[in-house]
Symmetry: C2
Subunit: 239 residues, 2 copies
């Protein structure tokens, strides 16, 4: 039995609910590996080996040692190499990732991808910290810094989610990157690598935790009609 | 911490995946109160006090004592009256249920409703058992027997789910009914009652379990574009 734990929803960010409603410490009770964003969309979160890292919108990477730091939306799982499939990729890039994994039949299940090695190219974006009253994720997505690096050694980590869960989470791939030397990180827009290896873990359980005691979350107006378009514009990954 | 556990998705029924992939015994490990359907859409399931009941499409109600009976889609939780809000309703009907509960701010959270008493009127439908190759839920919905009862004592039980989870589950209300004398049950299309009481339980966690070892589920083609319309036609409850 393997579980991906998610706090909050992607849809709530579109509905301007960006207050931190879970701490890093609480997230780490449910896993050691994952991704997310911090309160007010203050950069991209990466959980690796039970530690939390933040890529801020200037491109700097911080090791988050204050475990009371909060997040509005994040996903995490326990990395279990023994329960995962080994993935040595000879040559891989984002645009053919799904095709390369087609035999794994990932379309209808949640899975985690973790790749480590030297990447020929990584292209990321990093969300910019917002202040209250928070805008919609869609507005934030219109202006977010992008960064690129070549021949960089690090870890690509994230999830595949079935299309039917688009809204609660990002459908398709949602991947972050963290370089070994902590100089480069972010939400992956594109990547290319030769000879990286890693693992693919398929989950039985998707455990969705909601901030039910947060008044703004309880009263938010979730516009379903505009949701798909907003998510596509702001988070659209490769399917 | 309260959890609603769901096996399978409503969307998979639209995609013709109706094989039983969890047993009654396994469901009951995750709760004592809930709803669902049996393999091949063989009637409506009601879990109450840790027991499973089936309303078949002739209108008969069966106490399911074979715990190896399987279901493709079902939701369950542990009834916790002490963690629930008491709900004495003086006069209630399906069409004003949401309005009556508007102070509870249910729109963005999962919750369970359980009402017991004498109902002035209950109108149900019961899905009809299908054979392989299974049709879509949409086709099944076009011809399903309906039954009505007046002045009947029983339990109304089911869930409210946020609209953004429409697809994985039924958005809005999804309620079943079981009479105390086990003569009448089904998926609730309408009801009206005076002086019933019950409880409302709000969940922190939505635990989605998927049948990842089922080959048909792994390879199913989930048509997202037509999903909302199909679910509205087949399961459309009150929002």
């Amino acid at each position: 039995m393997t579980t991906i734990y998610q706090h909050g929803t992607l849809a709530q960010l579109v509905a301007r609910q960006m207050s931190g409603t879970i701490t890093v410490a609480e997230m780490l009770e449910h896993g050691d590996t994952g991704i997310g964003t911090f309160e007010g969309l203050n950069g991209e979160a990466i959980f690796l080996n039970g530690e939390a890292y933040q890529a801020d919108s200037t491109g700097k990477v911080h090791h988050i040692t204050d475990k009371q730091t909060t997040l509005p939306f994040a996903s995490i799982h326990f990395d279990q190499p023994e329960a995962s499939q080994k993935l040595p990729f000879k040559k891989i890039k984002y645009s053919n990732l799904t095709q390369n994994l087609k035999d794994e039949q990932l379309f209808n299940v949640f899975s985690a991808l973790k790749l480590h090695g030297e990447f020929a190219h990584v292209h990321v974006r990093i969300v910019t910290k917002q202040e209250k009253p928070y805008p919609s994720l869609l507005q934030v997505a219109e202006q977010q810094p992008e960064f690129k690096a070549d021949n960089i050694t690090g870890t690509l980590v994230g999830y595949y989610a079935p299309k039917v869960f688009g809204g609660p989470t990002a459908a398709g791939w949602h991947l972050h990157f963290l370089s070994d030397d902590l100089t480069f990180a972010g939400h992956v827009l594109d990547f290319e690598a030769t000879d990286v290896d890693g693992t693919l873990e398929v989950f039985d359980n998707f455990l969705q935790h909601l901030p039910i005691n947060n008044a703004d979350f309880r009263s938010m107006n979730q516009d379903i009609a505009g949701l798909d378009k907003a998510i596509e514009a702001s988070e659209g990954g490769k399917n």
